[in-house]
């Protein structure tokens, strides 16, 4: 039976197939192809975005590498500058330290010199004191009338050869002066006369002489003529040591 051609079946099958084409086109091909196209578009869009991101990443990487190179260069420059600054600062600090050390050295030197000078002064003073004490003891034990006689004779000789200025000052005296003569030992008349003669030669005015004894003088004379005092005794000479020692203090 199927080998027989049926026109109704023929027409109906044509219509059926056309309807099926329409149905599948509406329900199957069109939505599926649209979805596939949409997915392709989405994939292409995603790929494009990924490529864009990759390109941007490459750009960022290159930028980063360039920046890193720049940073390296800047770092090297900064390091060189830092080393230079450090060298300069070290040199300046070293110079300053040297200067301070030199000042400290000079200060120490000055202190040392001062201490040495003070020590020397102290030693000198001590030596002078000792010397004065020794001389005082020595002179005290060796002082005698003979020594005093020699000192008087020496004084008389010296009074004869006074400088002119001193002679002129004696000549200018207005009032008749009193001559006080102190001695450690009793003064012989001979020497009293020699002294009176000497002063009479020096001073034209009438003179009055007073004699006294002072053991403190040890040996020799002290002559007071107004404001003029002539020390020719051992006590005065010894006191010079003491004054000298006092000057050092």
């Amino acid at each position: 039976m199927s080998m027989e051609f049926d026109f109704s079946t023929f027409i109906l099958e044509m219509l059926n197939f056309l309807v099926l084409v329409w149905i599948l086109q509406r329900l199957f091909y069109k939505p599926l192809l649209a979805t596939i196209a949409q997915r392709k578009l989405h994939i292409e869009d995603t790929l494009a975005k990924a490529q864009s991101v990759q390109q941007e990443a490459e750009t960022q990487r290159e930028l980063y590498e360039n920046r890193q190179k720049l940073w390296e260069q800047e770092k090297q420059i900064a390091l060189v500058a830092l080393h230079q600054d450090l060298d300069t600062e070290r040199r300046a600090q070293f110079d300053l330290l040297q200067k301070e050390l030199e000042q400290e050295r000079q200060r120490n030197q000055a202190n040392l010199s001062r201490q040495q000078h003070e020590f020397e002064q102290h030693a000198q003073q001590l030596a002078l004191k000792n010397a004065a004490r020794f001389a005082h003891i020595l002179v005290q034990h060796t002082a005698s009338a003979e020594l005093e006689t020699k000192l008087v004779q020496f004084l008389v000789e010296q009074l004869k050869t006074l400088p002119d200025t001193l002679n002129a000052s004696f000549q200018r005296l207005q009032n008749p002066p009193v001559v006080n003569i102190s001695s450690a030992f009793p003064l012989d008349a001979i020497y009293r006369q020699q002294l009176a003669d000497c002063f009479s030669t020096l001073i034209v005015l009438p003179l009055t002489f007073h004699y006294a004894e002072e053991a403190m003088l040890l040996a020799g004379l002290r002559i007071e003529l107004g404001s003029w005092v002539l020390q020719a005794n051992l006590q005065h000479e010894l006191s010079g040591f003491a004054e000298l020692a006092h000057d050092f203090e």
């Binding site: 199927s2 099958e13 059926n16």
Partner: protein
């Protein structure tokens, strides 16, 4: 089936082939609706399967007709799908394939014949479409006309003959050999059904592609 469900609606005679075709249409429409009602960019397994089927058919058609493939896609794809299902229907007991009916295969062949001229005229215009019948020489015109009818007839007869003989052979083997012997025959049936569907659709694709692209790819005559 025509023995079981023939009825007349005035002058229209509806037999089993038509009924089976309607059933197949209904099933295909239902599957199409169910598989495409919730399409998304992240496909479900069913959507993936459907997309794969459509993609394979689309790529096959575009490989033959790259410029106008999308225009003939619904026809060719529907031929492949319908013929595959229709050829396999006979595997279901008590059912017969519509393609073992000469009226059905003739209707499909005539549709292909008409489609060739429809798409040819629509794509190139009637003048260019008819011009290829006298190309390269007007002497070939009768041969072209004979070819048009014979290839249409061959389409119808090839499918009808293969499917009818296949069913007949399967029935004979079943009657003669008993219960287990038909299994290889059924496997052969499946392969034959797929091959015949593919051949019919591919031939229709080639006819349509030659009609809509013959003039386009010819080099200009000097």
């Amino acid at each position: 089936m025509e023995h079981e469900f023939p009825f007349n609606l005035d002058s229209i005679h509806i037999n089993g082939s038509v009924m089976t075709t309607w059933a197949i249409m209904l099933m295909l429409a239902l599957v199409a609706w169910l598989s495409t009602r919730r399409l998304s960019l992240l496909p479900t397994p069913l959507q993936t399967l459907m997309e794969s089927i459509v993609t394979i058919m689309d790529e096959s058609i575009l490989a033959v007709a790259p410029e106008n493939g999308r225009r003939i896609l619904p026809l060719i794809a529907t031929l492949w799908i319908f013929l595959t299902v229709a050829n396999l229907v006979s595997l279901i007991p008590t059912l017969h394939s519509p393609t073992r009916d000469l009226s059905v295969t003739s209707a499909l062949a005539i549709l292909v014949f008409l489609s060739v001229h429809w798409f040819g005229i629509k794509t190139q215009g009637i003048k260019k479409h008819l011009h290829h019948y006298i190309t390269p020489s007007p002497i070939l015109l009768p041969f072209h006309i004979i070819s048009e009818f014979t290839r249409t007839l061959a389409l119808a007869i090839r499918l009808f003959g293969n499917m009818m003989s296949l069913e007949t052979a399967a029935m004979l083997v079943l009657l003669v050999a008993g219960f287990l012997a038909p299994i290889p025959i059924l496997m052969l049936h499946i392969i034959e059904a797929l091959v015949q569907a593919y051949i019919f659709g591919t031939l229709a694709l080639i006819y349509l592609a030659s009609a809509i692209q013959t003039q386009q790819h010819q080099p200009p005559l000097e």
